[in-house]
Symmetry: D2
């Protein structure tokens, strides 16, 4: 069933916003052949019916969503994307891995290496702890080499991506105090998923700005795990998410204490430029420009800017990304490109 050079892929749980983005991106991807999409809710309907934005694509008109058990689905796919809720993905990954496929998971199920921490933050035992050791955290800017070889990729959450990419270079270079990290994040409503809940109705979100998940949001588990790796010691941070009325976008403002207040600002600049100057999806902004989610919405880019405040001695770092793309499905495609060995920007520009 291989079509020329294309890799056969499947999307499991394609009915949410990240699933829709995956399907849309894979349909136009030059090196992917979408062979299956599953959705309990939409089984039997075509992709084109459910996602009208794809209706010009002959594959979307032909391909019907299927509904199947974890053991049976998507056998023909070499790489399987899981766009399932937390706690559900875990049951689908094992069977596909055993059958020889690679798995790129967008849920939180394989992001946390320590099953005890998973339990602390997600409130239940992990369903397949033996798989955790083999999972690679799917942040290509940090784990590119490991992703290339990975059988199981755990794509980062949307908030974590917006925090990790700006902070990791600074922690690695010991330029900031690990305990000082405060991340204030603002997210568009698609981050809540396509769920029929009153809280996410148009009228409840429009003309509303509100914090939530204070003070212990689940994403802290993976953020602190990855920051601790970068710092070489256990890092605990402050993180407050807020909901604002846009469809897409995360804007994170970070408040950081430099290890040496008097240090040359050039060391900060250098840390960012050395880490990201050649990264295809990281845009380091100049000293006149601040991030704006509208400049990255619909793309896989993340914008990063930073400012020193001589009055307080703090370093302010800001990032903007599309929560569904660099924060989810775009990053998953980026991982796919790394695995396949094709151009990392393939299908993403």
């Amino acid at each position: 069933m291989k079509t020329g050079e294309k890799t056969r892929v499947a999307v499991v749980g394609a009915s949410g916003y990240t699933g829709e983005e995956l399907v849309r991106l894979l349909l136009r991807h030059p090196h992917a052949e979408l062979v299956a999409a599953t959705s309990r809710q939409f089984a039997g309907k075509t992709v084109a019916e459910i996602f009208p934005r794809t209706a010009h694509h002959s594959k979307a008109i032909a391909l019907k969503f299927t509904d199947a058990s974890p053991a049976k689905i998507a056998k023909e796919a070499e790489i399987v994307f899981l766009a399932l809720p937390h706690g559900v993905a875990v049951d689908f990954a094992g069977p596909r891995l055993e059958a020889g496929a690679r798995v790129i998971d967008l849920s939180a199920d394989f992001r946390i290496r320590n099953a005890a921490i998973y339990r602390e933050f997600y409130g239940h035992e992990h369903g397949a702890p033996t798989l955790l050791a083999g999972a690679v955290y799917g942040l290509p800017e940090i784990y590119r080499d490991q992703i290339r070889e990975a059988r199981l990729v755990a794509c980062p959450g949307c908030y974590p991506t917006s925090i990790l990419l700006p902070v990791i270079p600074l922690l690695r270079e010991k330029l900031i105090k690990p305990g000082s990290v405060i991340a204030n994040s603002l997210s568009g409503v698609s981050g809540a998923g396509r769920k029929a809940e009153l809280d996410y109705l148009f009228v409840e979100c429009n003309e509303s700005i509100r914090p939530y998940g204070v003070p212990k949001h689940r994403h802290l588990a993976e953020i602190e795990q990855e920051l601790s790796v970068a710092a070489g010691s256990t890092v605990t941070i402050q993180f407050t998410p807020h909901l604002v009325p846009v469809n897409r976008g995360i804007l994170t403002t970070l408040y950081l204490a430099p290890t040496d207040i008097g240090q040359d600002a050039k060391r900060i600049d250098a840390a960012f430029h050395q880490s990201y100057a050649n990264e295809p999806f990281v845009r380091l902004l100049d000293e006149k420009t601040l991030p704006d989610t509208k400049n990255v919405a619909g793309s896989n880019f993340i914008e990063i800017a930073w400012r020193h405040d001589p009055r307080t001695g703090r370093l302010i770092v800001m990032s903007a990304e599309d929560n569904l793309l660099k924060g989810a499905s775009g990053q998953a495609i980026q991982c796919f490109n790394v695995i396949c060995g094709c151009e990392e920007t393939a299908g993403l520009l």
Copy 2:
């Protein structure tokens, strides 16, 4: 339980957007005493907890939502507002009327005088057809005298109000052809109610403009009923509702054929001015101004403007209102004021 000059009122089914508006308006009304609010969903919680916007009001802090059967609820209220779904209100009105209360109903249950037409548009038999004859259509500008004496007031739908007020004066004066009426309406999302449905999620409505209910929306039943009364003959109209991403507001654009294309525009002007110059909530705009929902949102006003098109001979009439106020709860309070004999603007400015 009478408190001074105040009328004791109850709101039944207070958990939706119209219920919330009723509660909010009644709490600050100088001549109303809110003695009960019912909600199956919120029973046992205080009004202040559920509607944070009312949390400064001592009554909102003290009053708890109750849940009770139609026969038992709100016995102490002299006037009962029903803010229930269509087909549910019908069971609550009878018991309250028999107990001597007056009922102001915001559902469609008592708007249609002809039970057969109700069945045609609502898909089931009317639950209390004997009550229909006594119900008064709650459009004060048209039925003020009847509302004053009514035991049962059927408040108009949000779209009907935006169409009837502009068209009735023209039909009464035979200035337009009854068969020519085309009403193109745009509504904010609160018109869909506080329902946990995917279609009304923020992400599904924001950056979306869409028609729905084409070509036979339920509101046609009451619109045509009332236009037929005004015309003195059966009127059939074209009506297309659309959903646009605002919280509140209906903008209706009407396309009408004058009976006499060459007629003096002054007769149209006169019809509007004679009908509405003294109406407290109708704003007839001048020739330089067009309606805008932002000028009426949060108020009980309706703006009306009209233009003759010499190229086509048609008359274009436009109206703007707040769908939750002049289109629902504000109008219900206006009816309440008429019934109580107080200033018609009491509690509404």
Copy 3:
């Protein structure tokens, strides 16, 4: 300066929303080489600085906006896109045409064949009436063959595209009465352009729905011109534009009187399917689906649906498009593709 198979193109007046879209689309177009972009306002700055969304593209980083007189600009371009205000484009087209380039104009300057009608609707004499005869109206679905050979293409306005594509097939087949056409259009705010005017501030547009340009909007000139061609007789229509708070999208609802009320609905269906079944950017929706701007925003597609109303005998036709793409810059690229003889969807999917 020719780069392989690529056509050298320039964008004149690139500082507005349509100019930005043109630049963005041309940068990623497989068969175009953007050699110049002019902007009085941004002269000397790079494309990447002004349009951050393009900042990953090496050409955007290298290319600086230039400012030059009509006679001098963009000499190296084989095809010049004019994204200038009405009345300004006219001075730029002649010099480029004389120099041998082809011109694709996005303004209204060359859309009206009759200079007297131009004067009636635009309020001043046409600046280059001798060019009008040679201009081709850039609606590929209607004028594909003429566009292929055209030296000067006049791209349709955003509203006209949303009205002409649905109505032309019906008029050509004599299925509707020409005098019956009523077009009610809703547009996102980008249609007003990037102009620093109070009316288009966020606070003035958000939570606002409003009609404007009643009853004689300038776009009527080109709409009626093209409908008259289709009908074979002079057509006068009703058209009312409205502003709604979305960035992008036009939703048009058309009210039409069939020539023969009793006629088989299949003739209407056939007219649409014969006209558009093979068109790459026209989506004819099925009987269960209505247009929604969110399904076409960001794309060059137009959705069309239609319903017969047995109660009134009218035909309701609805369309949705992205005003900046199928309504402007996307359509201009589609014309470019037709002229170049490449795949019509090149750079647009």
Copy 4:
């Protein structure tokens, strides 16, 4: 010209959003008589023409905007509200004060007691430094007694109100470390004023989230001045404003370090309750509820909530207000009520 018990008031510079709110609130205020409104831009037009939302009010229909020099305007007013840009108000206050009127200024001109700090933050010399000593900072919850006697009230900025009310009680009680204050604020677009600038166009703000003024926003001057008073020592804080696409509302999230991490949370609770339990416009939320701007938009209330983070030891405090009301015009009316000795909530519920 005194009308019964009413105080004669004027609004100078009524064409912006805060001016419009002042006019709207004063028209319905039971103890105010609006005798003049000035606007260079709108001179000669009636209030009802320019602010359609007031068009039902007979005074709005009768009153015309005037344009006059600082020395001449609004002589008949006992209290003059200045809703002018920074640097302009300063010229209007002196003449009115000398003529015996009281002045309630909404600009920044009299908020900073130290003229040198004014120059540092506003970039020019203060125009009337001798008036600074007599000005009272118009935050009734903090300066009620002084406002009562003040001739010149300097109403706080919108961001400062959202930061000062939550932080002052904690600093006064020495419960937090003064140097630890980090304020992350999100504002609706009306905060930018009614200015015809590209940055505030609908299309530039909608679907956009962005920081600005990093790291030294002008409001820091007054925030730090007032926090220093509360702390009894010089306080320097971190403050980052962001623009989000709502019309109204400020949401501030504060990150604070308790002086004693192990301290009883009850001391924090007590500080808030002792300060604000009897304040008519401060809503202290319970432990299940977080602030949401939609609950205060259109009102003069501020919501405050706080959470201890046992993981980091920090205290998170959040506030929500309407930037045009509690953040500007509503607060000015509250000050007016204090001065007049009427109910502090008059005209504000």
